[in-house]
Each structure stands twice: as C-alpha cells, then as structure tokens.
Symmetry: C2
Subunit: 86 residues, 2 copies
C-alpha cells in the first residue's frame, strides 16, 4: 500500500481511513465540521462518519478509502485543519 496522507491510519478489514482532529474549543470544532460539510458538497463525496464533541472530531472515510480518490479527500480534509497553537 502506498503512503497514507499525514495523520491518517487504516482501520478494519475492508479498511477505512481514520483520523482524529483536536481543537481548542467547541467553536473551532464546529468551524471544522462546517468546512468539512462544505467540502463534501463541493466534492460530491462525504465521510462514512464524523463523530465530534467539544474539542475533537473523529473522521472515518469509506471502505474504498484505500483508493486514490479517498486519499485525495483525506489530503483536502487535512488542509481544513488548523491545529491549536499553530
């Protein structure tokens, strides 16, 4: 398997692509989730699931995430991420 986008790992047998993003507060988390939604609309593809609370968002991409298209989505999601203190 070729190299994964920064911070992402494969999970499961059909493997999914998973990454946890951490934030300073709820506002930053919501902004990220909203930006991810806008990206999904623009790309016509959305994550298998998004689980978010006050200061984190766990993003899982579809089982075909081993394919290049979903890796491209992972890279685009990374580009939305502004970690605390950076």
């Amino acid at each position: 398997m070729s190299e994964l986008p920064d911070g992402w790992e494969t999970r499961g047998k059909l493997p999914t692509l998973f990454r946890r993003f951490d934030f300073e507060g709820y506002r930053q988390t919501r902004d990220f989730v909203d930006a991810l939604s806008a990206l999904s609309e623009a790309q016509g593809v959305h994550p298998q699931s998004i689980n978010f609370g006050s200061t984190y968002a766990n993003v899982t991409l579809d089982p075909n995430a081993a394919g290049q298209a979903d890796r491209d989505l992972a890279v685009r999601i990374n580009a939305l991420y502004k970690p605390a203190g950076v």
Copy 2:
C-alpha cells in the same frame, strides 16, 4: 428518576442521555445536524458528542443530562427531528 423525553435513554454511570435519529439520506442528516448546531448556539449548550453518517445521527448529552435543563434540550432536539415517512 422522572420520565425521559421520547426516544431517549440514559447510558453509563454518570448517566448520559443518548438517542439515535435515522434519516432517508445524507441531505436530511446534514439538515438535522445543522439545525442542532443552530439550536446549540441559541441555547448556549451543546451535546457531549454527535456521531453522524449518511443516514443517522447519534446524539449524547452531558453527564448532568439527568437534570431538567438537559431534558429540555432533548425535547427541543426531538422537535427538530422529521423522521422518514412522517
């Protein structure tokens, strides 16, 4: 413990309030999550976590969810829900 809002159950030792909402498609799910976000802003309180995929959103309210304030939030979240086929 007094009666819980429709569809909600307590989970865990500190108990949280949990409910799963099902939808026809991603668009309906996103509309619900967006409406829940707007409600959170208006109320100044937000769920402990929201986990959503194409056709579902699992909502967990904070451990103090046994209190009346969080039950009121659960009732308001229910009011946002337009189940498929209703």
